[in-house]
């Protein structure tokens, strides 16, 4: 009789197989456990925070003064500051990133492409604190020549510098998506007598839309999560405004401010950074969900 039964010597029950199964499982669960852990810690402190501050005040208040009396805990100034940086940076970075990616995938070949790609990667590798003082000591003074009312610390410089940081993210992920568009679609287009920009904009871009949207969301998430550069460049003035010429404060910058000070654990200031962190987390989560919806709705499926 041929031996077909499962046993510890059979291939799918052998110790090596079981061991590798276990290792794969453990590694995969680390990120899940971490996520759950972070949410749990956030929620615990947030729960304590909301026993002192009402949800109503937190989500409708327009003043954020947790460190000075009278203390006010309205989150909106921080949200507006964060969005100002995130959306402002996206306005600069999305078109530039998309065009860069199309240029890299459709227009240049060989050595120039490799050189350009490595320059972009260098841009991605610069420490964020360097971007921060680049904004304070270079961009802001330059801008002040044209815009005399510009504050020393302002959202505009911060948004520009954050845009520079996320351009590599957007362009490199988009480029991968553009390059993954099958060659036969390009051939079909060129065979019909299309020009390069027509192929890039009406065949390659729509076919790679999902990858492009993913890159934008990733860039946006990075922009609103960006800490060091905006803490340096945008200042620490929580203010409900959409005026990019003034100093503002983002959620991340506030968290830095509190964490750097000697705020004892258990105080309301201390708990407030967890509440702010949770809101930031929900915002990035929301951005990702929106992105997934957009991708599902508008993607051209070529497979």
């Amino acid at each position: 009789m041929i031996h077909l039964k499962k046993s510890w010597r059979s291939p799918s029950r052998s110790p090596a197989e079981l061991f590798s199964h276990l290792v794969v499982w453990l590694c995969a669960s680390i990120s899940v456990v971490t996520t759950i852990g972070i949410i749990a810690v956030l929620c615990k402190e947030v729960f304590a925070f909301f026993s002192h501050v009402s949800l109503w005040e937190f989500f409708t208040g327009t003043e954020w003064t947790p460190l000075i009396e009278p203390r006010k805990f309205g989150i909106w100034p921080l949200i507006s500051g964060t969005l100002l940086i995130g959306l402002g940076a996206s306005i600069f970075a999305v078109p530039i990133g998309a065009i860069t990616a199309l240029f890299l995938s459709e227009y240049v070949k060989g050595t120039p492409r490799i050189i350009l790609k490595s320059v972009l990667e260098v841009l991605a590798g610069i420490p964020t604190v360097v971007y921060g003082f680049f904004a304070v000591f270079f961009i802001t003074p330059q801008l002040q020549k044209f815009i005399p009312d510009l504050d020393t610390f302002n959202a505009l410089s911060a948004a520009i510098v954050v845009a520079m940081m996320i351009i590599p993210t957007i362009s490199s992920i988009s480029q991968d998506a553009f390059e993954a568009v099958p060659k036969y679609l390009r051939e079909a287009a060129y065979g019909l007598g299309a020009r390069k920009y027509q192929v890039a904009t009406t065949v390659v871009f729509p076919a790679a839309l999902s990858g492009f949207v993913a890159s934008v969301i990733l860039g946006f998430s990075r922009a609103i999560g960006e800490t060091m550069a905006v803490t340096l460049a945008a200042g620490a003035t929580p203010r409900l405004t959409l005026n990019p010429l003034q100093s503002i404060q983002t959620m991340t910058a506030f968290i830095v401010q509190v964490s750097l000070g000697d705020t004892p654990a258990g105080t309301i200031e201390y708990q407030s950074i967890f509440a702010v962190g949770l809101v930031l987390f929900l915002m990035t989560l929301g951005a990702n969900l929106v992105a997934q919806w957009i991708v599902k709705r508008f993607q051209e499926k070529y497979r």
């Binding site: 070949k109 060989g110 036969y184 679609l185 051939e187 079909a188 287009a189 060129y190 065979g191 019909l192 007598g193 299309a194 020009r195 027509q198 009406t202 065949v203 729509p206 076919a207 051209e300 499926k301 070529y302």
Partner: protein
């Protein structure tokens, strides 16, 4: 006295629509096509046959400058379309491709609607928008696809069967009103029934276009083409009327290939 149109027609049958004069194509140092001189006429289907790697596809793609995208390629000799060298420096390859359409090995419709697929090329060439529906209908009719898709022009082209997709690609190519149609093994990804529909279609289309097709299927060449060219190792071995070619090959290599001694 024949009409002027009739005389032009007559002229086209004796003057090649497209010809190559000692065309050589190299990938770096490797010679893929060696000094091939061939002429193709109006209302004729030409089949290019030969074993894999013989240079027939490379040759075909040189006829509408689809090889331009390959790095390190070099092309010598001439390709004349109605007497004009398409490799002359002043020539815009994009315009060349508008006059010489191409159908590929694997059906490659765009991931767009059926209508958008056919209208895509003409739109890019600034064809008047209001005439597009008529052009799409005419092209689909010529490609023998209209009856099957007329009620779902606004659904995705990827919902069609393989054979329908290939006919859509043919409709898309002829919507540009080219004078020459290049087909690179257009049936190799299709089943026998879809293949025979495409072959019938080629017979109808040759009334309007000069058709040059690459095929690895000798029976197909015999069924569909008027003239056949046999390629081997980048050389043109033999070229002649299909009937003669298959019944009385002149060269020993051709005979060996036709009788299946290699290939």
């Amino acid at each position: 006295m024949p009409s002027r149109e009739a005389m032009i027609e007559q002229e086209l049958l004796v003057t090649p629509r497209i010809l190559t004069d000692r065309l050589t194509v190299k990938y770096g140092e490797k010679v893929a096509v060696k000094e091939v001189s061939l002429s193709f006429y109006q209302r004729k289907v030409a089949a290019l046959i030969g074993p894999s790697g013989c240079g027939k596809s490379t040759y075909l793609r040189s006829l509408n400058r689809m090889n331009d995208f390959i790095l390190n390629i070099s092309i010598e000799g001439k390709v004349l379309l109605d007497g004009q060298d398409i490799y002359e420096r002043k020539v815009d390859p994009v315009l060349v491709r508008r006059h010489i359409g191409m159908v590929f090995q694997k059906p490659n419709p765009f991931p767009k609607t059926i209508f958008e697929n056919v209208a895509w090329g003409p739109k890019r060439a600034k064809f008047p928008k209001k005439d597009l529906p008529q052009l799409v209908e005419d092209s689909l009719k010529q490609a023998a696809l209209w009856e099957e898709v007329k009620d779902r022009l606004n659904t995705s082209a990827l919902g069609l069967s393989g054979g329908q997709q290939q006919r859509l690609c043919i409709a898309r190519a002829i919507a540009m009103k080219p004078s020459v149609l290049l087909m690179d093994e257009p049936c190799s990804a299709l089943d026998p029934i879809a293949t025979s529909r495409i072959e019938d279609l080629i017979q109808e289309l040759k009334e309007k276009f000069t058709i040059i097709m690459v095929t690895h299927n000798m029976q197909q060449a015999a069924r569909v083409s008027d003239v056949t060219a046999f390629f081997l190792h980048g050389n043109l071995i033999e070229y002649g009327a299909t009937k003669e070619f298959f019944t009385r090959p002149q060269k020993i290599e051709t005979e060996n290939y036709l009788t299946g001694k290699f290939g």
